[in-house]
């Protein structure tokens, strides 16, 4: 069942059409990743979904509510974690959480108990009295996520949750996101770390130049991009003329030698391993490992959008300066 339904959503800033009639849906209980280069329309889309921007055209339905007309009702059950940790520098971690809880009409005892619970859950219990400005980047990010879920939202919007923080904190945040999702929270996340999206998300939408160019499950995106089957063999030794021998014995395959001890065989048909094992054995070559090579999400992204991931990352780093 869809918890977010977006239909023909557009956003125009003067002459610039930032989002061009996009449609997609997010199922209840899934982690949905929104990927695209800088200026593709990711943040504008999140802003429209959360009430920070008004769409020029189109429809948003969130949990059965009109996400444009009834945005204040919708905001009761959504949580938002912006790309910058934007809590109050002067307030302590505990005070920040208690204040954020009060915005959702939670009673004093309830919000204090929830703040303590979240500080403990995010490993910040010992620093709850410290002012937010004294927190490290990773701690700030965790507290900002804690503030986003203080009212136990049905849907959590996360904009670049691990950008600019250390590896350890990023790993902890990914685990927290998975844990939240296991407990039933639907997560809508934008990230420029493609491997993060691959590891975390059930489904992914690619947005380029204001248009959604693909939306599917990670597995299906990988499968559909895979035009040929590839198997990689790791051999104990190299044999001269192996490539032509293989080509002769198995017409229709493509042989790619990728290193002295590794050879890749590609075919539009399904590859049966046994004939190859017999071939290698007959040629006195021991096979140490044979594995099926699948395309990465990075390759899928490149194929669909024509944008190289390193360019995506560089753009983001440049934009963050």
């Amino acid at each position: 069942m869809s918890i977010i339904e977006v239909t023909n959503l557009s956003k125009r800033f003067g002459d610039l059409e930032a989002v061009k009639g996009i449609s997609f849906s997010v199922a209840e209980g899934e982690i949905f990743g929104f990927l695209g280069p800088n200026g593709a329309g990711k943040t504008t889309t999140i802003n429209m979904l959360t009430g920070l921007a008004r769409p020029t055209a189109g429809r948003i339905t969130i949990s059965g509510q009109d996400g444009i007309k009834n945005i204040k009702k919708v905001q009761r059950f959504i949580g938002i974690v912006p790309d910058e940790s934007n809590l109050y520098n002067e307030l302590s971690g505990f005070e920040n959480l208690v204040f954020c809880a009060s915005l959702y009409e939670m009673g004093k005892r309830e919000r204090e108990a929830r703040a303590r619970e979240l500080l403990a859950r995010f490993g910040l219990a010992g620093t709850g009295k410290r002012p937010f400005k004294a927190y490290s980047k990773g701690m700030k990010r965790k507290l900002t996520i804690a503030a986003g879920i203080i009212h136990d939202p049905k849907i959590l919007f996360l904009d670049e949750p691990t950008t600019g923080i250390d590896v350890e904190s990023a790993g902890q945040i990914r685990e927290l996101i998975k844990d939240l999702n296991r407990k039933g929270t639907t997560v809508f996340l934008t990230t420029h770390y493609i491997e993060e999206a691959e590891r975390l998300c059930h489904r992914i939408g690619f947005i380029v130049d204001g248009k959604v160019v693909a939306v599917d499950s990670v597995n299906r995106l990988l499968r559909e991009t895979q035009q040929e089957n590839t198997v990689e063999f790791t051999m104990d030794k190299r044999k001269a003329g192996l490539e032509s021998l293989l080509q002769k014995s198995f017409p229709g395959i493509t042989v790619k030698e990728i290193s002295a001890h590794k050879v890749r065989i590609a075919s539009p048909e399904e590859i049966e391993l046994m004939p190859f094992m017999q071939f290698f054995s007959a040629n006195n070559i021991k096979i140490k490992e044979a594995k099926i090579v699948r395309p990465t999400l990075e390759e899928v992204f490149l194929k669909i959008t024509g944008i190289k991931i390193h360019k995506l990352n560089k753009e983001k780093e440049g934009g963050a300066k």
Binding site: T50, K72, Q75, C100, S102, L103, M106
Partner: protein
Amino acid sequence: MSRAFWNILLKDIKTYYLKPPNISWGIIFPVSWTLMFFIRSGGAVDIRGILPGVMALSVLFGTTSMLAVTITFERRQRSFERLLVAPISLNQLMLAKTTGAIIFGVLYAFVPVLFAAFLIDLSGINWFFTFISVLLIAVTSTFLGLFVAVSVSEVFEAQTFSNFFRFPMVFLCGLFIPLHNLPVFLRPLSYLLPLTYGADMLKFSINHAGSIPVWLSILVLVAYGAGLFLFSTYNIQKKWID
């Protein structure tokens, strides 16, 4: 008012209004103005005569300065977005963000009264009407500050833009120079400024010397306050939620 309203107000009071620079501003400003008149008049200053003007100025400068921090600064830090995406109506949110300035504006107005109480006899003042006048000046000035705060994106711009309104008001609103002493061509401008009406109400309640009908002053100040508030919320919707 909702729980969110009170908590936003309390957070602002704790985080901004009760900070030493703000409190010292409320004390130093009226003292400086009184001292200036004291030096200028060679020691024979008419404290009761200048009291309405000093009170009105304390409110005007106190309230308009605060909004630059509580709104423009938070907007710059992006913490204001947190409030915009909370399930609280924009009107209630902006009232929560401005009520602190109104409360402290009223308190600042009575700092010069406190000083004056040690120096002169304050009998004969209509305290109820003085309070209403101060409250109306505080509301109008706060919403003027709100209008400025939502029209700019940097704190320094807010301060600069505020001064375009504040300093002309010092001289054009009859605070220290009576309106009839102003050049004729400037008088219509004086009647366009809300502080003229607030200061006149204070003169009436403190010195029984107002020249504008009280009902008209109240009407103008209420209309100014409502107009500035509505225009500011419209501006927020258009510029910040668009």
